[in-house]
Amino acid sequence: MKQNNKLIVNDVTKIFSQRIFLSRKYFKAVNKVSLEMDLDIPEVFSLVGESGSGKTTLANLILNIIEPDEGDIFFKARDITKMKSKKDKMAFMKDVQPVFQDPFESFDPMKKVEVFLHETVSNFEIARKRGQAEAIIEKALGMVGLSFNEVKGKYPGEFSGGQLQRIAIARSLAVGPSILIADEPVSMLDASLRISIVNLFKALKEQQNLSVLYITHDLATAYYVSDRIGVMLRGNLVEVGKAKEILDEPLHPYTQFLKQSVLEPDPDKKKLDILQKQEISATEVGEYQKEGCKFSGRCPKVMDICREKEPGYYESPEKEVMVKCFLYEPS
């Protein structure tokens, strides 16, 4: 029987509550999101969105840090929300590893960095003897361009952000996962260091057959590194498909808005002169509570039906893109 080597997120919903003075408002941080990644075809899939889009929540759901309120998540044909035994959870973590935004938060400042590296290797029983463990750690560090000698005996505070993030990635790689869930892995790093980490993900995809779920708010980096992109707005996945196709010619009005708003480091493409209107964006909670499409409040192409009903997913005829927008409803 062929091993089902997929990550399948199936109609997943997660509800959070926020207390504002005495009343409690509920909102769907993630709303009926579905996506699929075939690990036999390693890819970099970027989840792009602004603050409050639900992308981090979705990442946490996939990492099994929190549980969905509705829907299921299958990894290699197993329902991860139903994993109870330690054995199942360890097997899952051997395949799915995280990379977090702040490398200094990911490590314990009171412990040498190698502690977590050793723990990873010994707990997942990858090495049988001490000597073997060091060899595996050396190999993992080598994949990120570092050596054990550079890392041995040092505390997190002794490294720069870029180096520490590489060590964090090396730790994730030590178990030989099939997919990395990277939540804003470069947003705390300087611009000149970002590209080297992002290039690293590309190299890992090509050399180690590693898939990466890359979460970011930075469209330009997403364009550079991704094979596919999913655009999220207030918990909804509004456009999914090939990265360059979507960002070269976005279909969903929100994606178009994002592309228009992103500033470019090119003096020939200045955007501030053009802007004349001084609108104020709606407060966040207000947008979550909307019936129908969450973008209807500020969409320049809004129709009456958008305010009443939530759109379904429609496939674009020319491209491999799914759009959640009534504009593309086949009539």
């Binding site: 994002l258 470019e264 501030l272 802007l275 964006s281």
Partner: protein, 329 residues
Amino acid sequence: MSLVEISNLSAHYLQRGKKVRAVDEINLQIESDEILGIAGESGCGKSTLLKTIYGYVEPPLYVEKGEVGYNFSNFSVNNIFSLSSLSSIKWKKISYITQGSMNALNPVQKVHRFFLDLWKAHGQNLSLKGFEELLRNRLSYLGLPEEVLERYPHQLSGGMKQRIVIAASSLFNPEVILADEPTSALDVGVQLEVLGLFMKIQKESKNTIIIVSHDMSVLVNLCSRVAVMYAGNIVEVADTRALFKNPLHPYTKLLIESLPKIGGGKELKGIPGAPPNLAFPPSGCKFHPRCPFSSALCIEENPILAEVCENHQVACHLSLRNEEVEAEQ
């Protein structure tokens, strides 16, 4: 005569007995009616430079030497780098938006209390009524409804809070507005609005805005001139277009080349290595360990900022050498 003249300025932090020189022999002239951007990565000293320009210098920050002189429309003065000095010019001639100031609004007070405190501290030359009218005008100028005064900060979005901070800092029409990373925590749409506001204020009052950002795209779009800082030194200053089309300093070149663009196709490379520890800076030019063009001179001597072509200054031995070669020819 420039509006702000910075000459030979050096300032350091005292950390556990070690001097960390975040601002190292800075010379810069800032004119009126311009938007100047200060670019650089974390630890380069750009925020510290802004603080010293404003005069917000308190331990562990010390000014070692140098001067910051102002030539306002009706008088000139030299800053003596203390918080209380020259309080007559603070907020009225020159205002300062610190990093994350939108999150510094008192969460248990309505917004109008913030402006009341502002009036008490800096606006005593106006009656309360006069101040309120000035405030109302400025709020509507910036597109804020008057109700925001009756709200608490947590009820407002990030963009609205930032507008309030901008309202406060531009209220008395200062000749210089200093802004440290004013859009770094904002979503792209809101960022566009906020930067548009800065542009609007500058166009209409023709004052000077100095903006610090690690995001080059912001500076390209907003500023007329950009200064690039590295490890406490200014390594290049030029008109925005000239800087981006023709960067002369290797750091600027590599930095610009490492920025991804939507629609860009080629493989990008970052800058190898990491910025130096300012407590133990490298000898000579501080960029030499990471510079692909470094020579023996670069290891010995720190190059001085010099004008190489029209309105384009750079601190690099390579550029100076090229210029000499060209001059000889």
